[in-house]
Amino acid sequence: MEKAHKPKKVFIQGPISPDFVAKSIASHQSKTGIGAHAIFLGQIRADQKEGGPVTGIDYTAYEEMAEQAFYDIREAAFAKFELTCMHIYHSLGLVPTGEISLFVFVSSPHRRAAFEASEYIVEEIKANVPIFGKELIGEAGQHVWKENK
């Protein structure tokens, strides 16, 4: 598990579509050592703010640093958990409410590793990847900057 894994393209312009998720799943059916897939999807909530509901989030990133951070998370997850595959996708630009901005997909022979890795990766992304989100509010062009807890 010490081998390095190629950096992969993480950022996607705009929302991540359910069809993209389906294609990712289908592409793993030839890997017959896999017994468990855990998928996490982050979806934009219409939280109520002063000024109205959130209508979408406009994502930006310090892209070079973020790519490195994603790479480090991948390497750490492969070292910690018995994983066959791991894919991470995150949106840049506008993602409207109800659409998907984060797609974490881990596959393992056994469910325990898949569950643990999925949670680990999502927490690491939230804490350590320089991605910024401008929550767009109501109709009047207001916004609030999102902050992970």
Binding site: G42, I57, Y59, T60, A61, Y62, E64, M65, A66, Q68, H90, S101, L102, V122, I125, K126, A127, N128, V129, P130, I131, F132, G133, K134, W145, K146, E147, N148
Partner: protein, 79 residues
């Protein structure tokens, strides 16, 4: 010395730009740079942010060595 400074998210909003060249007289630690930034953009005093030097989050005691790319990072919001 001079180096590149990048602003992100609400900090780019406050600065009114996303990057600029910073000129300083002599050596500078990250903490000293932070003081200069807050003098130039007082509205940043109310904001939480971290400073990355060459894409690594840095402690205030670190001495900036050029060439350097410095980034001001507001709270992360990925996910």
């Amino acid at each position: 010395m001079s180096f590149q400074v990048k602003y992100f998210g609400m900090l780019a909003e406050i600065a009114g730009l996303s990057d600029e060249v910073w000129n300083a007289a002599g050596g500078l630690t990250v903490g000293q740079f932070r003081e200069q930034i807050l003098d130039k953009y007082p509205a940043m005093r109310e904001k939480k942010f971290k400073i990355a030097v060459n894409q690594r989050i840095s402690e205030d005691f670190l001495l900036i060595e050029t060439p350097a790319e410095i980034a001001l990072l507001p709270p992360f919001a990925g996910g």
